[in-house]
């Protein structure tokens, strides 16, 4: 009990993040309703990436976690990205 180990996240911050997430959801619905051919998927995914960043950072507390936990999470997403890239390199150049 000698030190406050936990940062108590205020309710207000969670609410602000929720508003941002709702705004991004509406943004992604709006942007995919415009005809942009192949860029539609890219735009929708961009919104999804920003949303997942907010969820991971604030809702899942990564902002207040130790550095090695952040690195581990980043590492898993990096592995996933590599798998996607390698798969598509295979399909594009076979």
């Amino acid at each position: 009990m000698s030190e406050e180990k936990h940062h108590i996240v205020p309710y207000r911050l969670y609410f602000i993040i929720l508003i941002a997430l709702i705004a991004l959801t509406m943004g992604s619905v709006w942007i995919t309703s415009i005809e942009m051919a192949e860029y539609t998927v890219a735009a929708a995914l961009l919104f999804a990436v920003v949303k997942s960043y907010l969820v991971l950072t604030y809702f899942m507390h990564l902002k207040y976690d130790k550095r090695y936990i952040k690195i581990m999470v980043g590492f898993v997403f990096a592995i996933f990205l590599v798998v996607i890239i390698i798969t598509f390199l295979d399909y594009l150049f076979r």
Partner: protein, 207 residues
């Protein structure tokens, strides 16, 4: 100073270890769904037109409503961890109960959504699918049912963990000094939210 502290916990409770354990489990979940997303990406790349056509069948409104529902429930369970840390046990219990009910609302929506598909003769292996749909459309709906179904299963499991969290909060086993069950319940629920954040645009918003 800190060493003496550990003696007070003969049951070896360690909040950080609990958190790491939960994260390691979450990694396996991310890679499970990650593999399905890779399958989706490849089939979509090979059947772009069929995927567009099939996605028209999905209801954008119900998908958006379910997205908002899950985002709100993520906030309420995150708030319950704050309530617990502030020592507001009753508020924490209420917030988890609210999250549970919102999860239930998501499943009810899913029930009606799938019900509409079934009434249109669309389910894995249905005659309508096999006789009237192209290979690409069959792949789209196959992935749709497997991925949203697996996600709905995670919702059910998340709600099950919430029951334990509520019980722990009520009988005092989950408290300010031992918040891991509630924290991990929250992490799991956010994972479910995280997966939906990608399922939603890929299935509902592409046309």
């Amino acid at each position: 100073m800190e060493h003496a502290h550990h003696v007070e916990h003969p049951d070896m409770y360690d909040e950080e270890s609990s958190k790491i354990g939960m994260w390691l489990f979450i990694f396996t979940e991310l890679l499970l769904f990650g593999a399905l997303f890779v399958v989706y990406a490849v089939y979509r790349y090979m059947n772009p037109d069929a995927f567009h056509l099939a996605a028209e069948e999905l209801n954008r409104t119900i998908g958006t409503v379910n997205t908002l529902i899950l985002l709100i429930s993520s906030m309420t369970i995150a708030m319950s961890t704050t309530a617990l840390r502030k020592g507001h046990r009753k508020t924490a219990i209420t917030l988890v109960v609210v999250t549970f009910l919102i999860g239930l609302a998501f499943l009810v929506n899913k029930y009606f959504e799938w019900g509409v598909k079934f009434s249109h003769g669309i389910w894995p292996g249905s005659e309508h699918m096999l006789n009237e749909m192209s290979q690409g459309e069959i792949l789209f709906f196959g992935l749709y049912f497997v991925m949203t179904g697996l996600h709905a299963l995670h919702i059910v499991i998340g709600m099950g963990i919430m029951v334990f969290a509520i019980r722990g909060l009520a009988n005092g086993k989950v408290k300010v000094e031992r918040p891991s069950l509630l924290d991990n319940c929250g992490l799991y629920w956010h994972l479910v939210d995280l997966i939906w954040i990608f399922l939603f645009p890929l299935f509902y918003l592409i046309h």
